[in-house]
Symmetry: C2
Subunit: 495 residues, 2 copies
């Protein structure tokens, strides 16, 4: 009877290998591939994706799950094997609901949409992108029909990134977040950050970032950092983590961007060995994953304690910071300033960009906004939410890649990540009462080890809600700690 579990694990390991292999091809495509390799690479990725999907949705997986379920039911709820069977059952049922032709059509149209978007953004020409957006939205509607939902047709899309979460729950969180953030932004003082706008040699940025990364708790032989156009993090096992970043000589943003990706990387690196080559070797949701990138980027990387240790070394790497005092530097990197572009936004304004997109996505899906009016609606809401005037669609509705590839439902996870990061941070602070002193001494390991042992190691064994409950005592996503943190920050800047 045990053989059902063995066979299940072997089949899932094979699917994992193929998916990770596709990950290597994706990394290579974005980091090292010569431009003319594009066409063959798309075919290779499509083939690997199809093989992984076929093998995962094979009816035999269902039969093995049927046979394995009674074998694991007496194990503890979070035992590896019981979790494997439970999580795989959910993934498998979900994956089988989507007909192969619809999946193939979505992949094809996503590629076409992406291609059209690149050109449309370059020329700031929404009209040329519109037909592709229409097709992708229509396909998403057909995708939604494959599932049952109670509160909103948006929920099945959200579920791909935040398993088990309802649209109504996100609405509740954002209903608190939106007005509170708008108020905070309005109260934020103007802060001089002119000294952060030139004089940062890329080589020095890389050297400094690598020094910091070296203290974050990675096994030194299990990661690498490479330059790329659009930074991301991926991993091919918990011991092969790839961080990417980009360097601009006119700012230091690569540093926080690298710490952000390193947060994702530490998550992947911390997943227990026993979950390797299984569907459990990941984060429970994008929101939880993002909570950790934000933790390392912001809660650590913009905190005064961190810079008490690192500001001296930073000044050694960048002579242009000579004469700028620590306090002034910390204030500048924590300033709040409304802007047009989501990826350039600071901690305080960032989630407002997300709330805009979350609302629009629901309206697109439900058809309550005609797609051709999207730019006008976008611009009006940007004015309303952030008080900024959008000069053209390239800096407005066309700025993000997500919709071009049919990635509707993804955006909320960024703001949820911010919110969750503080819920977990509060717990960390109670568990590590000397955290500030440790950070100020340059010792990131107690933090890194705690997060690995209490969160990262779990992988996808628990749902996002269960994972949050295990850490905080409640499954709810609660914006209060995040708002308190930002409130304290804005108050300290104004002081």
């Amino acid at each position: 009877m045990e053989s059902a579990l063995l066979e299940l694990r072997a089949r899932l390991a094979e699917v994992s290998d193929v998916s990770r292999a596709a990950g290597v091809l994706g990394w290579d495509q974005r980091v090292t591939m010569p431009p003319r390799g594009t066409e063959a690479r798309a075919q290779q990725l499509s083939t690997l994706g199809r093989i992984a999907h076929e093998r995962f949705t094979d009816p035999e997986i269902g039969r093995l799950l049927d046979r394995a379920e009674p074998l694991v039911e007496s194990l503890p709820y979070d035992a590896d094997d019981r979790s494997l069977v439970r999580v795989t059952r959910r993934d498998w049922e979900k994956a089988r609901r989507v007909p192969a032709e619809l999946r193939a059509e979505m992949t094809l149209q996503a590629a076409r949409g992406h291609h059209a978007w690149v050109e449309a953004r370059r020329t700031s020409d929404f009209a040329s992108f519109l037909p592709y957006l229409e097709t992708n939205v229509e396909l998403k509607r057909r995708y939604v029909e494959c599932f049952e939902w109670s509160d909103s047709p948006y929920t099945p899309l959200l579920d791909d990134y935040e398993p088990g979460m309802l649209t109504s729950e996100v609405r509740e969180v954002f209903a608190v977040l939106g007005p509170a953030l708008a108020e905070l932004v309005a109260s934020a003082p103007e802060i001089d950050a002119s000294f952060l706008r030139s004089g940062f040699a890329p080589d020095a940025q890389r050297a400094f970032s690598e020094r910091v990364l070296g203290t974050m708790g990675f096994d030194g032989e299990a990661w690498r950092l490479d330059p790329t156009a659009h930074p991301f993090c991926t991993s091919f096992s918990n011991r092969d983590v790839r961080l990417t970043t980009r360097y601009h000589p006119d700012n230091l943003e690569s540093l926080w961007s690298t710490m952000h990706e390193a947060g994702h990387g530490l998550y992947a690196h911390g997943i227990a060995d026993s979950l390797s080559r299984s569907p459990l070797a990941g984060a429970p949701s994008l929101g939880l994953n993002e909570s950790q990138s934000r933790t390392w980027e912001n809660l650590v990387g913009r905190g005064r304690p961190f810079w008490e240790h690192w500001y001296g070394p930073l000044q050694e790497h960048f002579p242009s910071l000579e004469g700028i005092e620590l306090d002034r530097f910390v204030r500048a990197v924590n300033r709040a300033e409304p802007g047009l572009i989501r990826v350039d936004a600071d901690e305080t304004t960032y989630s407002l960009h997300i709330i805009l997109r979350f609302e629009l996505e629901q309206e697109l899906l439900e058809g309550t906004i005609p797609l051709e009016e999207l730019p006008e609606v976008w611009n009006a809401r940007m004015k309303e939410l952030l008080g900024v005037d959008v000069p053209d669609d390239a800096h407005g509705v066309l700025q993000d890649v997500h919709w071009s590839g049919g990635g509707i439902g993804y955006f909320p996870t960024y703001a949820l990540g911010n919110v969750i990061s503080l819920q977990i941070w509060d717990v960390v602070r109670r568990a590590l009462p000397d955290l500030d002193e440790q950070l100020a001494a340059g010792d990131l390991l107690p933090l890194s080890d705690w997060l690995r042992d209490n969160l990262y190691a779990l992988g996808r064994k628990l749902t996002p809600q269960e994972t949050i409950e295990r850490l905080t005592g409640s499954p709810a996503i609660d914006p209060a700690p995040y708002l308190a943190y930002l409130g304290d920050k804005i108050a300290s800047l104004a002081a």
Copy 2:
């Protein structure tokens, strides 16, 4: 009926995609992967290899071939589809002869053998490697039993690398080559090459190599060059060619090594688009592939015409060459000097290293040399063939990686490549009467284009013998042009 061909092509394209994906994983493993990624990567590669093999040896491929054969028989012999069906039939019949368990055991023992060899070479300890070599040789004997052969049990091994070639044919070629080369080596003058033994900054080597590569006929957006420990070339399509090299500040070898890999790369790059994603998208044999790496490395890269153009730029890159005249440089890079290590050997002595290995491999397989006596036999034959004393096994029988992974039958292809390179070069010379002038003007494109149009574009449509016959008028591998070339070289050095 046409559907059989379409379905066959689609299935073969999928197999090709999976194999190319494995290629990407292999490149990443040797060029960029963090060391701790090894274990997961081995599993990913094993899974992809198994999937590609399973899909290729599927009985359905045989049924599709049966249905496709009558559809293509009226096409010209070298038409894409007719060639596809013919070559796939041969590959498929061969692949199906080896039981899956034997194949898996060979893969496993090759990995173990490789691991043991790395350590054995490090400590120059043949005894510790012996049991692994025994296992690998025994597995090769079982592999050979899967096939029929007439002249020698070595033939099925050779056939993996040189399809259709008999061991007896290689013996005939080497029977001419061996004594003639020994004589040439004995007559070679001593030449001062002391100026080639220091002062070559790796950055300058890379810059110079990339300048040369830029003139060899590659689409500039279809290749890249990276440093690695053991240089190789691979490709993931005819527009994604990966060259690797290594730089030593104490010599200029990276330059010829890079031109060597670029020769392989031009072959891959020149394969006709119509053969993409098919079993025809490769070289007909390792010997033919090697003939082109040797052409670019030696026939072009050590020739006086090439250096008439490039020696000036080289001196600009390397101030240590100032005052060394072109003649002296050309003589030095063409010298013949017996040594211990195959990969460091010059053109004239190189094939003698191969002849030694070819003889030993047959004896290993037939059991006429007890494996434990291999080091003594090796050392005695090195003395006999090249007149050198082997100080230890690390510089003797343990120097090459091939046997550790069961790669028996591979070595002869290197020497055959040398021989074939001159057979083709003679044809090129007749086709391009102004070749020397073009090379001396730095114009490599007429050569590159000719080789692409007349050789590389064919891919694997023809057998090695048919390919050679199409170019030279005879299918035979003839050592005479190679020996004439080396004879002229040695004579000119002595002059």
